[in-house]
């Protein structure tokens, strides 16, 4: 019987199976940010085990609340910074170089096909877009990852999502994944890896694939994964050209991870996107999804464009195309947070930031911020936000606030009208 990509990655990294079905895996990447790492650092110090398994496999960033907004967040940054210095971790990103972790780390070429990746952050599944097994974990798993370079997972079952058809105008990866989460439900992929396949995925850029895999967790998925291909090779080439004779050689190597034709899936979801419309969430779960036209007319107070879901250059370009020459509706606040310094600079040089500013947006440094209601655009009670983020839980962006998840273009159109608006109806 053939194997799925996830099974192949598990087989290649299996350190131990202490009990049937419990796989202890060697880790290629242990990623850290300032919210979930400090308690691990303190605990290691308390145990007299203040060391790291491999300073090159650990990457760290201050991203959730940056620059520090108060003494507590300053202390979190300080703990992470001092730890990175103490252990001479070369890839630690501080003020001026920092960005949203799941955008910054891929941009730096840190993720490769076939890698095992953990982070103390539920959206770590984003990195599965590169054909890696990437999973969010808690601080204790992170602590053992830092100390021993291993993590335990149950043997993975996979759900195959086969995406076919032609994406209509203004329908993008964000709409596809919202639709998938609606079909699966918030619990539909618990303990499963979601494998995203099909011609629609094959045609997607890495940015778009990362939007898909980013939200695998919202259906409960352990991870989301795409098969690595030429697009993956081309994205990573600046970082891997020294390791391979040619791009063809890299592609041949990456292809070894592909799921076998006779691999077994627990469930197969066939989705034809040819009639898919822009999607918007309502209520307080990411699986509560309607079309933008069904939600038409719902007022918003704020538009937030950014985050690890949709803060990449392609996302900013799509929003800018809608906003060009237009302005935010009276009373609507617009916030743009390009998700990394590189994206910020490119958007600036391309004139994209000017389009946003002319439309009346506030442009901030790269940070997670308002996505989880910690800073950078928290909502007051009774307010609603059109957001390109990934979670609409009650109070997520601020107590008593409502979040409507949508694509960058839909968020831009909504900002212009002041009410939820399908970008095709502008």
């Amino acid at each position: 019987m053939g194997k799925t990509i996830a099974q192949k990655i598990f087989d290649a990294h299996l350190r131990d199976e202490p009990f049937p079905g419990t796989c202890v895996l060697d880790l290629d990447r242990v990623l850290c940010h300032e919210i979930t790492t400090p308690v691990a650092i303190s605990d290691l110090q308390w145990r007299n085990k203040d060391r790291v398994f491999d300073r090159h496999k650990i990457k760290a960033v201050i991203d959730h609340v940056t620059p520090a907004k108060d003494s507590k967040t300053a202390l979190q940054g300080k703990i992470l910074r001092e730890w990175a210095g103490r252990h001479e971790i070369p890839d630690f990103f501080d003020i001026g170089q920092n960005g949203v972790c799941h955008v910054l780390f891929p941009e730096k070429g840190f993720i490769r096909p076939g890698f095992t990746v953990i982070m103390g952050d539920s959206h770590t599944c984003t990195h599965g877009a590169f054909g890696a097994f990437a999973a969010g974990v808690g601080t204790t798993d992170l602590e053992v990852g830092i100390l021993k370079g291993v993590c335990a997972f149950r043997k993975p079952a996979s759900i195959l999502v086969n995406i076919t058809g032609q994406l209509p105008e203004q329908v993008v990866a964000k709409d596809v994944i919202l639709h998938i989460i609606h079909l699966l439900g918030v619990n539909g992929a618990t303990d499963r890896v979601i494998e995203f396949r099909g011609p629609v995925v094959d045609a997607m850029s890495m940015d778009a694939r990362m939007t898909l895999t980013n939200m695998a967790i919202e259906a409960g998925g352990t991870s989301g994964i795409c098969l690595p291909d030429q697009i993956t090779v081309d994205y990573l080439w600046p970082f891997i050209s020294g390791e391979y004779q040619s791009r063809e050689a890299a592609l041949a190597d990456f292809t070894k991870w592909h799921s076998d034709p006779d691999a077994e899936y627990e469930r197969v979801l066939d989705i034809d996107v040819s009639t898919l419309e822009p999607q918007v969430t309502y209520d307080y779960k990411p699986d509560c999804v309607k079309t933008a036209r069904q939600m038409q007319g719902t007022p918003v107070n704020q538009v937030y464009i950014g985050t690890c879901t949709n803060g990449r250059l392609e996302d900013l370009e799509q929003a800018a195309a809608i906003l060009k020459g237009k302005k935010l509706a009276p009373g609507v606040r617009g916030i743009l947070s390009p998700a990394s310094p590189k994206i910020y600079r490119e958007a600036m040089e391309m004139g994209i930031l000017t389009i946003f500013m002319d439309a009346g947006f506030c442009i901030t440094n790269p940070t997670c911020g308002a996505c989880l209601g910690m800073s950078n655009g928290v909502l007051a009670p009774g307010e609603a936000c059109a957001a390109t983020s990934n979670r609409n839980f009650q109070g997520r962006m601020g107590q008593g606030g409502m979040v409507h998840l949508m694509s960058p273009a839909t968020a831009a159109a909504t900002g212009i009208k002041g009410v939820i608006t399908d970008p095709r109806d502008l």
């Binding site: 400090p38 605990d43 507590k72 103390g120 974990v137 808690g138 989880l372």
Partner: protein, 176 residues
């Protein structure tokens, strides 16, 4: 680690209770577990539930429905239970990361089938519910008024080993 896993139960009658509701993000700026103590379940809006009320304050066991602990990976969620002396959750099912975090901290995330969860919720009409946990025998005994209900629960050998070791750091440190 010598933990007592049973005691008075607090029932949360809703599925998909997420970790933002268990411990809101505004408290993630804390760097100690103890600092989380006052804020457990502060944002959970549920008819009849009061995060500052006696039922939660006295509780040692939480009982809930499907997909408990979904959303963010924050281990602050199990920690805020732990510092409030709640070491056991009983539910129909859990989000993966929350469940693993519980066992990694040497705590119990017990899964029961829907018919048994219904039996537990039903006991409430007899009065306040007390639950005793026999980890070795994988049994629960729930008492309310003069009524007593018995349950068997499944637990993976790994999860059981984690609890017995006192957590994942202890287990991994001894082995790898």
């Amino acid at each position: 680690m010598n933990r007592s896993f049973g005691g008075p139960a607090c029932f949360l009658d809703r599925s998909d209770i997420n970790t933002d509701e268990i411990i809101p993000a505004r408290y993630l700026t804390e760097v100690t577990k103890e600092a989380l103590k006052p804020f457990l379940l502060e944002d959970l809006v549920l008819p009849g539930f009061d995060p500052k009320g006696e039922v939660l304050t006295q509780a040692k066991v939480l009982v809930s429905r499907k997909n408990f602990g979904c959303g963010s990976s924050r281990e602050h969620a199990p920690w805020s239970l732990e510092v409030n002396d709640i070491y056991t959750v009983i539910a129909e099912g859990y989000a993966r990361i929350f469940r693993q975090n519980m066992f990694n901290c040497g705590m119990l995330a017990i899964e029961l089938p829907p018919v048994d969860i219904d039996r537990l919720f039903d006991l409430r009409k007899e009065g306040p519910v007390e639950i005793a946990v026999d980890l070795g025998g994988q049994k629960l005994t729930a008492r309310a008024g003069s009524r007593e209900e018995h349950f068997d629960f499944a637990i993976s050998s790994f999860d059981k080993a984690l609890v017995e070791a006192g957590g994942w750091v202890e287990f991994a440190d001894a082995r790898y």
